[in-house]
């Protein structure tokens, strides 16, 4: 443990902190946008639903890296200037939202329609039944897929190297170019990504167990 090595570790930790920051904002933005857009898709609100379908297709069928570069280098031509930090979380959020939309649409769609009929029969309005029955149950069903996507968003935060945001991959890449310690530095970076991915996965399983509705889905 030379002081030099300790120094490098601190710089990497600093990068990890920025990675976590943009990932957290990007994931939160992606999930909230995705829930709203998924609800619109589920409710089949005309025009709006088709527009969202287009949005989801465009963002899912084009590389995130191109989207990032476009946000940062092309938007200033239209008068919108973003910092690397703003570009990073916005790109992660907008891209992730496209996937989360489909995840939540499928989740809301998986709710047994009889639950909604029962709520309507009890006198709930359609929107009340959606908010009180479909959203809570459908969101629970979406947890596993949304977690997988959240982890993908976290890993994809490495693409922000393209706009010079100093997250973990940027810092590691710089350090390797300077010191040529390829195996140590990328090894530590890879380990950090693996550890955080697993923490997210474990937290999600815990959440899923904690919010599970007792008995729901057991009796068919």
């Amino acid at each position: 443990m030379t002081p030099n090595f300790l120094n490098e570790l601190l710089v990497l930790l600093d990068g990890l902190g920025r990675t976590l920051l943009i990932s957290a904002i990007g994931i939160a933005l992606g999930i909230s946008l995705g829930m709203v857009m998924g609800a619109v898709r589920h409710a089949r609100i005309p025009v709006l639903s088709q527009l969202i379908a287009c949005y989801a297709n465009v963002f899912r069928c084009t590389p995130l890296l191109v989207q990032v570069v476009m946000l940062y280098f092309a938007l200033p031509d239209l008068g919108i200037k973003l910092t690397p930090f703003e570009t990073s979380w916005l790109a992660l959020g907008l891209w992730g939202a496209a996937y989360h939309t489909e995840i939540f649409r499928a989740g809301f769609g998986s709710v047994n329609p009889n639950e909604v009929f029962a709520a309507r029969a009890l006198g709930m309005s359609a929107s009340r039944a959606f908010l009180d029955i479909t959203v809570p149950l459908g969101s629970r069903a979406s947890i596993p897929a949304a977690t997988t996507m959240a982890i993908t968003q976290f890993r994809s935060s490495s693409f922000m190297i393209a706009v010079g945001y100093q997250e973990l991959t940027y810092v590691a890449n710089r350090m390797v170019a300077d010191t040529f310690k390829v195996f140590e530095i990328f090894g530590i970076a890879a380990l950090a990504y693996l550890v955080v991915s697993n923490i997210i996965a474990i937290a999600s399983r815990w959440l899923e167990r904690t919010v599970a509705v007792p008995g729901l889905g057991v009796a068919k």
Partner: protein
């Protein structure tokens, strides 16, 4: 639409597109070979093979594609193999994609009842024959939809090669924008990046539709 800047930009980006298609094709082929081979190995009953397969799949699926790409890019010269950035990119992306495809193949193989293997073995087939001629033909229907989805991810990931300096579609677009910015006041960044997005969309959207179609056919 008859503007003088379009001609040279289009011809330069066409050569970039050629590189993108070439990298995508090579990555896809190598990743598929790795994925199917490792996926088949996962059916092995030998403990150390199982451990190695799990390690490979979990590590490479858990690490950002960009990290594996950069790692291979910097590590190959250090162990005495000097290659261009294109080869390094293909190896890096294929190692990452191969792990994802292997996981898909593993899931598809596992979904086929072990009775099928037992029946084939009872008919006198060897272990390998039972896997290749009895289980794999049945598993391929489950394998194809997610596999095609993974191909779109791999094609999109080819844009990452621009990070290590390959003049692919995205790289050529950036070069042309820099050149235009140098010679005139308008770099046409919005139009050029929209062109890049459009090319990826035209390639990936039909593949997504095909994957969805196969998935639906499988369910019905």
């Amino acid at each position: 639409m008859n503007q003088p800047w379009i001609g040279p930009v289009a011809s330069h980006m066409l050569s970039g597109l050629y590189v993108t298609l070439w990298v995508s094709l090579l990555t896809t082929v190598v990743a598929t070979v790795i994925g199917v081979f490792v996926g088949a190995l996962s059916a092995s009953t030998t403990p150390w093979v199982k451990v190695l397969v799990r390690l490979y799949i979990d590590i490479f699926r858990g690490v950002p594609s960009l990290i594996t790409l950069l790692f291979v890019f910097f590590a190959l010269p250090q162990i005495g193999i000097s290659t261009g950035p294109i080869t390094a990119s293909v190896v890096g992306l294929a190692l990452w994609g191969g792990a994802n495809i292997a996981e898909t193949a593993r899931g598809a193989l596992k979904s086929i009842s072990s009775r099928q293997t037992e029946a084939a073995r009872a008919l006198g087939m060897s272990k390998v024959d039972a896997l290749v001629f009895a289980v794999m033909p049945q598993a391929i229907r489950r394998f194809l939809p997610p596999y095609i989805g993974q191909l779109t991810v791999l094609i999109q990931a080819s844009a990452l090669t621009s990070v290590v300096g390959v003049t692919d579609l995205l790289g050529s677009a950036r070069q042309m924008i820099e050149r235009l910015a140098y010679v005139s006041s308008d770099a046409h960044a919005v139009e050029i990046y929209c062109g890049v997005l459009l090319v990826f969309f035209v390639i990936c959207y039909p593949l997504t539709l095909l994957s969805d179609y196969l998935e639906r056919r499988l369910r019905s």
